[in-house]
Symmetry: C2
Subunit: 236 residues, 2 copies
């Protein structure tokens, strides 16, 4: 299954081998990787080298290390890009508005795709969330429901690339501005408009109108942009 | 500068420390990191542990290791997300259309932002590329110029998050379909339309009309979608 390798950037070679095995159908999500010792012997490299490669893969969320159980290919890649995206942000002296613009691009496209692919079951689930946001009074629960609403749209887009980058950018925004959803929902100018905007998005999704769904999402993002523009980034 | 640490996921702690130092302004792009030995002593961990952390950071493109020179914070993050995005794609059994939809979302938003921020210098550079694409006869050079045209728009968006994710998704598409730009430019149905579409984008950018720029880019992406829809992924 794994070939012997003889190059300097061994972790890149190991990565390449894992990828090849995935493409050929020998490895899939949730599968256990060879033990570090077994793998080192097979490849003719040191265990330390194998460990470096596995740590690197763990760091980017592709491999999950379970104490005493071994190393597994991850089953969920939603957080894979969060760490690299976050560090890239800090290293490039990023602005919050840049992350919000990235999020806007993805939320809008996700809404468009979700409208094309909307099913009665998915619509029922989204409608239930909208109903709950409107009747809920606890601000923390309302913020959670709001997050769920956007997440379900990303799911309904049936595009895992968009969904994962979107999740990572939303996670980054939330890390930069603690309780940003609660703050927007509580904002005297913006809070009262949110429920109506969610309904507009929902209606366009129900009607399976991609351009209207994208437009409604874009208006929703305008409102969030306005809020974000006045904020400073938390340093933790 | 760096504090002692005592936790299990040491590479995550090291990452956290690098991030903190960046936020506080002690570390910036291009800076040299402490030597592995020096750093291990400071933190009270083994050199192997430090090396694992550095390999992981190198893998996601945040640290550059120069043989005999030491480890440096990268100066360019355009490729940071390519590796994680690519592996995520293979592990989730990705479809080419998903990457193309991601690219569409980002190209469209980049065109919108570029129109808002267009300067005479940037416009002149884009116009020169458009002129060159139209007169050039070598298909490889034409494909390079096409790439440059899209890259300059991403630069003009002045959004490094969008630019970097866009670069990574474009790189992934090109890895999946070798010579995809040449193939589209040579396509008897689509090739002749490309130059006109580039001009439409260029005109909207010149007029600083964000919505028209986004629309023109979106039509350009429709044409590419049509091409991509008929393709199989290369396995290498």
């Amino acid at each position: 299954m794994f070939k012997e390798i003889a190059h300097t950037k061994i972790y890149l070679q190991i990565l390449e081998q894992i990828k090849e095995n995935i493409i050929r159908g020998n490895l899939k999500s949730g599968d256990r990787l060879p033990s570090e010792r077994q793998w080192a012997e097979q490849l003719g490299v040191s265990r330390a080298t194998i460990r470096e490669a596995i740590r690197a893969l763990e760091m980017i969320g592709l491999v999950v290390c379970q104490q005493g159980e071994g190393n597994f290919i991850a089953e969920n890649f939603e957080d894979t890009l969060t760490q690299p995206l976050t560090i890239m942000f800090w290293l490039s002296n990023g602005q919050l508005s840049e992350v919000q613009e990235l999020r806007r691009a993805l939320e809008t496209e996700a809404a468009k795709l979700a409208a094309k692919k909307m099913t009665p079951e998915r619509f029922a689930s989204l409608e239930k969330i909208c109903d709950a946001i409107e009747t809920e009074t606890d601000e923390t629960v309302r913020a959670e429901l709001d997050k769920r609403f956007h997440y379900e749209i990303a799911l309904a887009s049936e595009n895992r690339m968009i969904r994962n980058v979107l999740q990572s950018s939303a996670t980054l925004i939330e890390a930069l501005i603690k309780d940003i959803r609660i703050a927007i929902l509580d904002d005297p100018d913006r809070g009262p408009v949110i429920d109506t905007q969610h309904r507009h998005i929902l209606n366009a999704l129900k009607a399976k109108e991609p351009l209207n769904a994208a437009f409604a999402m874009s208006q929703h993002m305008d409102l969030i942009d306005g809020f974000v523009a006045g904020l400073e980034i938390d340093e933790h």
